[in-house]
Symmetry: D3
């Protein structure tokens, strides 16, 4: 199967890292394509960034439908554009927050999310609620790192995040950790070792869930709200999104 | 005060109607400016349309900040981009679904939403939940009209919607009605007369809530998640959204 | 419009203060009448006081209906008798806890209530739940002041409440404050300045919501639970409440 | 023990019936005193009636404290004044809706409430939620009988209520019935026989719960919100409620 | 009436203590039979123990049906096998966690559970949710005592639990305490005296609730999910549970 | 990896069918072992059956730990003994209701469960709530088939279940179906074809989730409630469950 991972920010180094981690867990028959959109923010740290990452993301899904992509992963912990992407795609679309939280709820009795800036905590809480998994979410903790600190060689990010995970276990009553940013995907095993508890990363979790759905022959239901969007006139810079070609 | 109403779709006739209805309820000192974005979908009938209406909407908020706008109304019942707009704006930003649902919860013990296409019902439910008002929402009913049917002279829309409102009262255990589309704003008084129960329209409700907040000197809190978004590099078609200028 | 504000306790100085603050935000065409009932407790600090404030409050609503009142505000943060008053009145009736919590949910992502005695905190929580707004309520904090301390010249109330608001922002994860007593209405702007975050007062919020409903032509729905109460025999001291005259 | 049952309406025939049914289930050592207040409505069918039944009810609790009453039952399905009464009383105070819903949740997987007028259904729902038992409440059904129809010899009430109970079992997915009015207490056994499922009456349930609490030595906690109300000045017709004498 | 209390663990000293405390509160006409099953764990401190206590418990219920038992109490705070036992029994079956939580919700505005090992806290939370009473549960606190420490003469259990109760009142915002283990039943009065707040024990609470249901003529509804289980083939060690004999 | 699927009932034909369907979706490196316990009920159709299926199931998990099993699937839609099994096992343990509901929440906006006997519907609802997924569950529908009807050649089961699925889509507002019994696993693809919407089977879903967890290196957290149960004395027929050998 062909699995397209869309990192909705435009920071290529992060996209490459995400692709690499995805390939490390993918099944033999899975081809991983990791991309960043051609437009949008360099990192996503506000509702504003999140909203403006979506056009580029949807462009990649539309292209993917022509490229024969079987399933998509949205590799930003805010799961931007998830439902819009599901409308466009024939196959499964999985968000990494969604994937990580589902996996965490199968792993322990409660999880803590460790994320980047404090202002994104509410987004994580809102997603936990939307997916029904807030009852397993004991806390969402900000590490106060900017997303791109995770890409900076020599940054202290690794230590800071590990420490936040350790505190989460000690103070939150949780028994496993969800990493709250796609840029942390490469730290997963290392932190799990360091803290002695399961650590769940959304990127790799989403890859496995997308593969699972493909193997089961399940794709987004097209009977209801996620049916293909009705084609219509679009104007201005976004004219190309009218989907008239379908 | 200067109140900018952004109809996030690009259908000018609807924008004009919205502006007219807003002016009819506005306080003497309120200047109403009703606009459509320069890009985006002609109507919003899917998560896809909703997501793609947001860049144009945010562009209007950014412009509004330079134009001395005091408050904003987002005139689409999905409240697209509400939190992103709150991050950008100094003054209040009110969504029409939000406004109508709050007003309805002060008016009766339960409301029904009467909306357009069935595929948008879940969006209304989700908003009701997000605002905490699902406990007052007895039903969301689709009239199966397309949004632009409301703009078509000679369409049967008026009759169909009135009938759906009447059924809602009879069958849902609700005692007031929320109109689930900005394009229905001009029907509000007429339907209320026809069905003998309060009918709440989001456009006019949002105007009065925005005026109320202005009178009270309350604006979006900038201490938390809705602080101004951190400026950053944007690329491609959306490069201008980097907000470097602030 | 004629707007009657009923302070359900019998402390006239508080009623006057409430009336003054209400007039300061009222629209030009709004006539504010602020009253205390002719019977009941001097302050409301228990379920017992609250229950016994309601007959006097309802008497004022019944009188108001004869006086041509267009809308009512119940100026006690427990919103006593709100639904009973809605049954009696033709126009809107707004409670100040209700008003403040609604406004706060439009202002920030989460609010803290700062109130008087600890024993009233549960009442605030219960109202937040009833109105659907508990999801926005991060904490209810008692300042351990008695209600009438707020009326005592030279009391330390102002400082104590400001301090409690500051702590709430620092510790509760909230980004705006709701003042939990009608007697605090005059402190609103001052505290907002002191703490640098929006502070919402129920009295003034309720005035603007009542005006908004009037401008929109919306009043309590009389189709359901809040229909006018059926007249019936009342006996003893409360004989006059039989409403036979309607 | 001395158990005072307060029927908060002033209809003596109903009070006598309630007293009789209570005595039929009371333990040998329990003395049942059934009273109506000296003031208030002849029946309770609105929020207005409910609010105005409370002063008379509280007067009976205050008298009860002087008479050596050990526990109280509030015999109206809206549980009016429950928390205020708990503040005043040293011993347990049980509402009949509360009692019946608790008992029903021990009896089956879901219950239906069968009550009188449709406008009181929301009150029952609200109580179910307040007590945490809404998850067991499958429906609240109005029989459209007035409360005093239950007192009228030769009325069709018995048949109508039995029929509503039968329908509830058939249509609501419930497996037991809660009778939603103190005036139905004498019908309990007869309806249970007729419909072949458990029928729970609040009056008798509350008697047994009050006895249980007394036997266990448990009374209302006085450490928190239900501590004795602070004495204070009351004025007008309600001056006597200042509780200065305590 | 004949009331069988089943301590689902096999520690006879605890069973005797439970029987004694039950007899101390039982009504004159109640015959208390306290038993331990003939198979299973010596104490219940995990989901594993809980699951494996159920066959022995059900065996005792099946025997009880032949012995003319009128009602059952399951004397372990995890309420193991409660619904299965209800299917088998004709009369009421009450779990002690269920009983204590219901009683606590009639006693105060919020309770804390004080239990044994930390790993059982989630079980208590889950039960609170299942019974609808999580809204009253302010905290579940582990004392880190093993269940059988409560049986060990000279252990420090009494002091440790009293201290945990005191802390709960001070820190949790609760106003009464629920003892979270059947083995604590004999400490109830002593702790209540020591901490000056109501302390609720499940064993004695369940006895009174079972007596109440019997007095009211209410038993488990057999119309729905708790109808007698359909007889069927059982094999292996559990062959005898086929219930063919009914 | 070695994946043990435990059908907790003792009907071998169903176990074989389950094993076959599991193998059809398993990854190349996955060895599927499908077993029935050596004791317990022939089918599970009550809380009683469910409780008594657990000892045999746990015995198989204990054996599995010695046999080098990497992960377990519990193949009964009530997910009996799930948490107890997680305590015993080192690797992941997945219930089929859990698996199917999680997968369904990734597939559509709402699912209906189609199950066997009406008395098991509540169990499905309870699990949906426990896993947080009740918000996606639009209905649980009984087909009124006994579990073993699914094993009877020539039975009408296939047609009846397909019809129930069709009705669910038409009436419940759901857009995908969850099959509510392990015995339906072989019908999944056929029904999906017949009704034109995604149909999710728990057995195959659980296989893929267990494989996913193994690939991600995630197993049940042993830090909290699901730590290995403390060894202790067991007596009677269940003596062997004392786990002293670990």
């Amino acid at each position: 199967m062909k699995l397209k991972i869309i990192n909705p920010n435009t920071t290529r180094s992060m996209t490459d890292k995400i692709g690499g981690c995805a390939r490390a867990v993918a099944a033999p028959g899975t081809e991983i394509v990791a991309v960043s959109p051609g437009m949008g923010p360099a990192s996503i740290e506000s509702h504003y960034d999140e909203a403006l990452s979506v056009p580029g993301l949807l462009e990649e899904v539309i292209k993917g439908e022509r490229e024969g992509v079987d399933a998509y992963v949205i590799a930003c912990f805010g799961d931007p554009g998830l439902y819009a992407a599901r409308e466009v795609a024939r196959g499964p679309v999985i968000g990494i927050a969604e994937a990580a939280m589902h996996m965490a709820s199968l792993t322990g009795t409660g999880f803590s999310v460790v994320t980047t800036l404090a202002r994104t905590c509410n987004i994580a809480w809102h997603l936990a609620e939307r997916y029904g998994l807030a009852r397993f979410c004991r806390n969402v903790r900000a590490s106060d790192l900017a997303v791109l600190d995770l890409e900076r060689p020599g940054s202290d990010a690794r230590r800071i995040i590990t420490e936040a995970c350790r505190q989460a276990l000690a103070e939150d009553g949780s028994d496993c950790i969800v990493l709250g940013c796609a840029g942390m995907t490469d730290l997963c095993a290392e932190i799990a070792d360091a803290i002695g508890a399961p650590v769940i990363d959304g990127v790799t979790s989403a890859v496995k869930l997308a593969e699972a759905m493909a193997a089961l022959g399940i794709a987004t239901s097209k009977r209801g709200d996620w049916a293909h969007p009705p084609p219509k006139a679009y104007s201005g810079m976004l004219e190309g999104f009218g989907m008239a070609r379908r």
